[in-house]
């Protein structure tokens, strides 16, 4: 098909042709076209179907506020539903499909809904589909769900990349129409840092769609000249294809730059879109205005569009929706459409204006005092019915109708912080109130100043005013003379008297009748109206529909429009791809990875890694022939308990605590006493929250009188540090204590097992005595290893074996584990992972994250006596509360199945023998369980009511979730070496 509706001129490059497909049909367009303009030039009016009634629809607008012409753009994994044809830039090879229709756009079986529209009024679904009860989910809802929705996702992973960034400026100008450009010129020349952003792919705003001249020049020349100057200014950043999506607190705006959406695919390494967070000291909203339709019967047919949009298609894109058109307007501006169309050689059948005194502007028939009462044409407009001033009816043949009910200032962003627009009777529209976001002002049509002259002058003056607040002087700039036509309109919202349907919200199929029904049923607040009828809830969020609904509700309620009020505009200004909001943080890069110092070595060993927070830790080290993880883990445990093993424990948090009050400080943050810990010794510490619940635990070593190194659990390192700073800065500001994290600075390895000392003696420099006497249990010391490398040695044990932790500067961590493994070969040293670590700590009955679950007290953990009553420690007072000290308080105990082949399930609950299995008979739960290769049995630890006094009792461990039940004996949680002989050996 040729471009039968293509006109001359426009801002398209007709020297080049682009081929594209819509619903499989090939068409041609030109650079500068949108999908909508190109389809229109090719004579295509039907572009979509409505949501509920599946009515045939064409474009209503020429911008991002489009409710009707939504398509699925591209194919495969890049398929993009609900793309506005009016903003999709044409590129060679573009593919688009209509959506929400079956089997085809022209014949949509679901259009049957339109026949039954009388039954499908606002809120009908709340009143039916209730019987029989089960049918809602089984029958009705699936049908409704399938019918609902608009476009479809491919459900393939989005292959494109997205980026994020941060920008800073004195003045952010939103919109690059005449007001935005004048503002940018003013601000740019002042030297201020300026960002000028526009959602369009051409700067100029409405100037691109009008035939105005500015001064002596065509508008396009002034725009080009202005842009050239702005682009040359280093302090001005002009951002095209960039939509400012929201005004957030304190001058922060979000903006989405569509870097590659106009290309078939993004260039390699380049993002599809960028989300910018803009820190603007001042923001000037120059977002223009959005035209509003008039509701009349069957006002939704393809070919019926906003008059200003029609003008834009003709002027900017040299495309007309039909060869013969008409215009229906209640204001002078609508007449311009007729003028411009006639100038382009389009036949304008008539201008219909309900005002009896409508001016004659265009060289065509004027029907003053008339109104459009109905239309016809199944898949596109063919005729309009007009009621003339004298009451007579007339049918006019036309393929398109431009409609203008006036313009609404685009106040969206002024409402993002719940500001309310105010009514301006002069233009019969809401204009920005004075309660908008702090630092944001408005100029031009967005502020109700509709003429080009007013846009230019208010843009310049508001920019200067904003900068003045920042102490930046802006000189007035020379602005070209421009049209200054006053607004002349008579409010006219809908054509009364019709029996059919007149659309307000075209996408959601909300009609005048629906608003009347909502009123009848007492859904009268604007929010009730919106929610009950779905008016304004479509993808355009009511930009073209809300005003009509409000006006009708006001009329029904006998109130003025401002008394009825408006619903709130919420961010984003236009819908934003989720990908852009996610940015680079997805897939493997969702969160940063933390690697341990032995990571490279462990990778070489074929270790299996596990995520522990952001850390990747070796979980176990499979050896050839091991096919089950348990084989590896059992081997590692046996090797440690039998000889020696090495485990990377760098992930434990390390906090350097120094200062003359360091000991006193630790006494405050630990429940147990620390003040008297000897230099060269390490002590286990239990930290409570102020509510008396265990927060964290770990060992803290005293390296000097005024120097401690605290360890925290891996998970709580950040939180504990923050807590310590809180205690220091907010509670004890005069304590001389300095805190800093050193977690990453040291590679730390546990060397555990009966041969651990022998192994360490091979690498610790000989001047250091680490014999049992020279370096007893819980000792710590700064030493050197491997011929002079500074290191720290702690004799602490998580496994219950004779064990040490040795730390060296992280860069030597890789070398150290290699050295340990080489030196340990004679002892058959193993590397062990977190799984074996976990098995050994359960065997030893040490609490870890599963036990320190944020609800357990020191008493629960069997450490009640550690909480010193002789000092003021965080959490000690509230730990005295009755509910935390019940006689039957949960206590940490061990569980061993009576049948050693049975499995203890972590998360299982404990019941007494012979009682019903239900919540009221619950005795406790198992927190951690494992297979102990030492005991040759599954074992667990957990919390049991009054557990300390129930040793030897047999209980049922039930886990209905996993379908298991075993009998377990209550035992001490210290399965291995309960007296601690080994670790002191």
């Amino acid at each position: 098909m040729s471009q039968i509706n293509r006109l001359n001129g426009g801002q398209i490059d007709t020297s080049r042709s682009l081929t594209f497909r819509f619903d499989g049909t090939r068409y041609q367009g030109h650079p500068g076209d949108t999908l909508a303009s190109a389809l229109m030039a090719n004579g295509v009016r039907l572009m979509g179907r409505s949501f509920k009634y599946h009515r045939p629809r064409g474009v209503l607008t020429s911008g991002s506020e489009e409710p009707n012409a939504l398509v699925e753009l591209r194919s495969g994994a890049r398929q993009e539903p609900n793309t506005r044809a009016t903003t999709a830039e044409l590129f060679d090879g573009l593919e688009a499909r209509s959506q929400n229709r079956f089997p085809s756009l022209k014949f949509d079986a679901m259009a049957i809904n339109d026949r039954f529209s009388n039954f499908l009024t606002a809120g009908f679904y709340y009143k039916t589909f209730m019987w029989p009860a089960a049918f809602w989910e089984k029958l009705y809802e699936p049908i409704i769900r399938k019918a609902a929705g608009l476009g479809s996702l491919s459900l393939q992973d989005d292959p494109d990349e997205y980026d994020k960034g941060f920008l800073h400026c004195d003045l952010l100008i939103v919109g690059a129409g005449p007001s935005g450009l004048a503002a940018a010129l003013t601000a740019g020349r002042s030297g201020a840092r300026v960002i000028l952003a526009d959602e369009d792919f051409a700067f100029g705003g409405r100037l691109n769609s009008e035939t105005f001249s500015l001064g002596e020049d065509a508008a396009a020349e002034w725009v080009a000249r202005t842009l050239a100057e702005l682009n040359a200014l280093p302090n001005v950043r002009c951002m095209i294809r960039t939509t400012v999506i929201g005004a957030f607190d304190h001058g922060i705006c979000g903006a989405v730059e569509r870097v590659s959406d106009h290309l078939p695919v993004p260039a390699p390494g380049k993002p599809r879109q960028i989300l910018w967070r803009i820190y603007a000291k001042r923001t000037l909203l120059c977002a223009g205005a959005i035209e509003r339709p008039i509701a009349f019967e069957n006002n939704d047919r393809p070919g019926i569009m906003l008059a200003g949009a029609m003008r834009a298609y003709v002027n900017r894109w040299a495309a007309t929706p039909a060869q013969k058109v008409a215009v229906f307007t209640n204001n002078d501006d609508g007449h311009r459409t007729a003028v411009d169309l006639i100038a382009k050689g389009v036949n304008v059948a008539a201008v219909i204006d309900p005002r009896p005194d409508a001016p004659r502007v265009a060289d065509c028939e004027l029907l003053a005092g008339a109104q459009v009462t109905d239309t016809s044409g199944r898949l596109g407009l063919k005729f309009i019915e007009v009621q003339l001033a004298d009451g007579s009816e007339r049918t006019i043949e036309c393929g398109a109708l431009g409609v203008s009910g006036g313009w609404n200032p685009n106040v969206h962003m002024t409402c993002h912080q719940r500001g309310r627009p105010v009514w301006d009777a002069g233009i019969a529209a809401f204009v920005p109130g004075d309660d908008g976001p702090a630092g944001l002002t408005v100029a031009g049509a967005a502020d109700g100043a509709f003429s080009t002259h007013a846009a230019l002058t208010t843009g310049a003056s508001q920019a200067a005013a904003s900068l003045e607040q920042l102490g930046i002087a802006a000189k007035p700039v020379d602005l070209p003379a421009a049209e200054d036509t006053p607004v002349n309109l008579k409010p006219f919202w809908y054509v009364k008297g019709g029996k059919g349907r007149a659309w307000l919200d075209q996408q959601n199929d909300v009609t005048v009748k629906d608003v009347k029904l909502a009123h009848q049923e007492n859904f009268r607040s604007v929010e009730h109206l919106k929610r009950y009828t779905t008016l304004g809830m479509a993808t355009d969020q009511g930009k073209t529909s809300n005003m009509g609904g409000l006006a009708i509700m006001a009329e029904l309620a006998g109130k003025s429009i401002p008394e009825v009020g408006t619903t709130i505009f919420r961010p984003p200004y236009t819908p934003v791809a989720m990908g852009a909001l996610g940015g680079r943080s997805r897939g493997k890069h969702f969160h940063p990875v933390r690697e341990t110092p032995s990571h490279k070595w462990a990778t070489e060993q074929g270790a299996v890694f596990v995520e522990t927070g952001n850390w990747l830790r070796a979980q176990w080290f499979p050896k050839p022939g091991e096919t089950e993880w348990r084989q590896s883990v059992d081997r590692e445990v046996r090797a440690v308990r039998g000889s020696v093993g090495v485990c990377d424990v760098t992930t434990l948090g390390k906090i350097d605590v120094q200062g003359t009050d360091a000991a006193q400080f630790l006494n405050k943050v630990y429940a147990n006493a620390f003040a008297k810990l000897a230099v060269g010794k390490t002590r286990y510490g239990l930290m409570l929250r102020e509510d008396g619940i265990a927060m964290d635990d770990g060992t803290t070593a005293r390296l000097a009188e005024d120097h401690f190194v605290m360890t925290t659990t891996t998970a709580n390192a950040v939180g504990v540090y923050r807590h310590l700073e809180f205690v220091h800065q907010c509670l004890c500001p005069d304590m001389d204590v300095q805190l800093i994290s050193t977690t990453e600075a040291w590679a730390q390895y546990a060397v555990a097992g009966p041969n651990s000392r022998k192994l360490l003696q091979k690498i610790v420099d000989p001047e250091f005595d680490i014999s049992n006497e020279g370096f007893e249990f819980m000792a710590c010391r700064e030493i050197t290893v491997c011929g002079g490398l500074r290191a720290r040695l702690f004799r602490i044990s998580f496994s219950g074996e004779l064990a040490y932790e040795i730390a060296v500067p992280t860069r030597y961590g890789d070398a150290l584990i290699r050295r340990l493994m080489t030196a340990g070969a004679e002892f058959d040293v193993v590397a062990y992972g977190t799984e074996a670590l976990g098995v050994m700590r359960i065997e030893k009955g040490h609490a870890a994250g599963n036990e320190l679950n944020g609800t357990t007290t020191a008493l629960n953990l069997g450490m009640g006596r550690m909480v010193s009553k002789k000092k003021d420690a965080i959490g000690s007072t509230l730990s005295e509360r009755e509910g935390l000290n019940r006689d039957d308080a949960l206590a940490l105990v061990g569980f061993k199945p009576q049948d050693s082949s049975a499995k203890v399930t972590a998360g299982g609950h404990l019941m007494e023998l012979g009682t019903p299995v239900d919540a009221s008979h619950n005795q406790g739960y198992v927190t951690s369980a494992c297979y102990s290769p030492i005991l040759n049995s599954s074992i667990g630890i957990g919390f049991l009511k009054d557990g300390a006094n129930r040793m030897g009792e047999t209980l049922r461990l039930v886990s209905p979730l996993t379908g298991s039940e075993v009998q377990v004996d209550v035992v001490s949680a210290h399965f291995v070496d309960p007296k601690g002989d080994r670790l002191r050996a």
């Binding site: 993002p271 120094q658 000097a704 300095q738 977690t743 010391r781 070398a815």
Partner: protein, 203 residues
């Protein structure tokens, strides 16, 4: 009260011939990546130590530090570069001092010896990975990564910022278009990936 450690491992030159250190990215040599107008280099050859003034010792610490560095400690959010050191402010009465690793592997001990009881000193050398960004496109890349306003950051200033979800130090060196990013060492590869992705995206 003594603040002398139970054992000082202060050694002027540490010779650890048979332990090969790795860079934060896991190499034995530092990684360098070049783009048109930007060079991203891993900088492992720096020792770091933090110093924090003891309560009430701030003036004494400042003068001791001046004696040690040959220059006053920098003001809030500023850096100083008394050869061979780099000094940057990291918090109230807290600074980070960097020095060439080859000659100052025991930097913390050296500083502690100089400042005595006026300050708490902590070795930070391997707590951090440092990447230097040099070239006129560094702003274009950094603006994709963190909210620091690098274009208006004065040369010789430092800020802590959030980069790739991580708290990092960003230092603008006195030279034109030269920034250092210091981030948590364990996440060196994630930081490097972010730098590379942003550079590819922006340049």
């Amino acid at each position: 009260m003594s603040s002398v450690p139970i054992l000082s491992t202060l050694k002027e030159t540490v010779c650890v011939l048979d332990l090969t250190p790795l860079t934060a990215l896991g190499g034995t040599t530092a990684r360098v990546d070049s783009f048109d107008g930007l060079r991203i280099s891993e900088c492992p050859d720096w020792a770091l130590a933090s110093v924090a003034a003891r309560l009430g010792q701030e003036p004494a610490m400042a003068s001791a530090a001046r004696a040690f560095l040959g220059m006053a400690l920098p003001d809030v959010a500023r850096t100083a570069e008394p050869d061979p050191f780099g000094v940057f402010w990291i918090g109230p009465d807290q600074w980070m001092i960097e020095a060439p690793h080859d000659t100052h592997e025991s930097l913390a001990a050296q500083i502690k010896a100089a400042l005595g009881d006026t300050a708490s000193v902590t070795e930070q050398t391997d707590g951090w990975v440092r990447f230097d960004l040099q070239g006129e496109r560094c702003h274009d890349v950094l603006e994709r990564l963190c909210n620091a306003d690098t274009r208006s950051m004065a040369p010789g200033s430092v800020t802590r910022t959030r980069l790739e979800h991580l708290g990092c130090l960003l230092i603008r060196r006195p030279q034109d278009d030269h920034f250092s990013v210091l981030g948590p060492r364990s996440s060196a590869r994630s930081i490097h990936h972010a730098l590379m992705t942003a550079a590819t995206s922006a340049i």
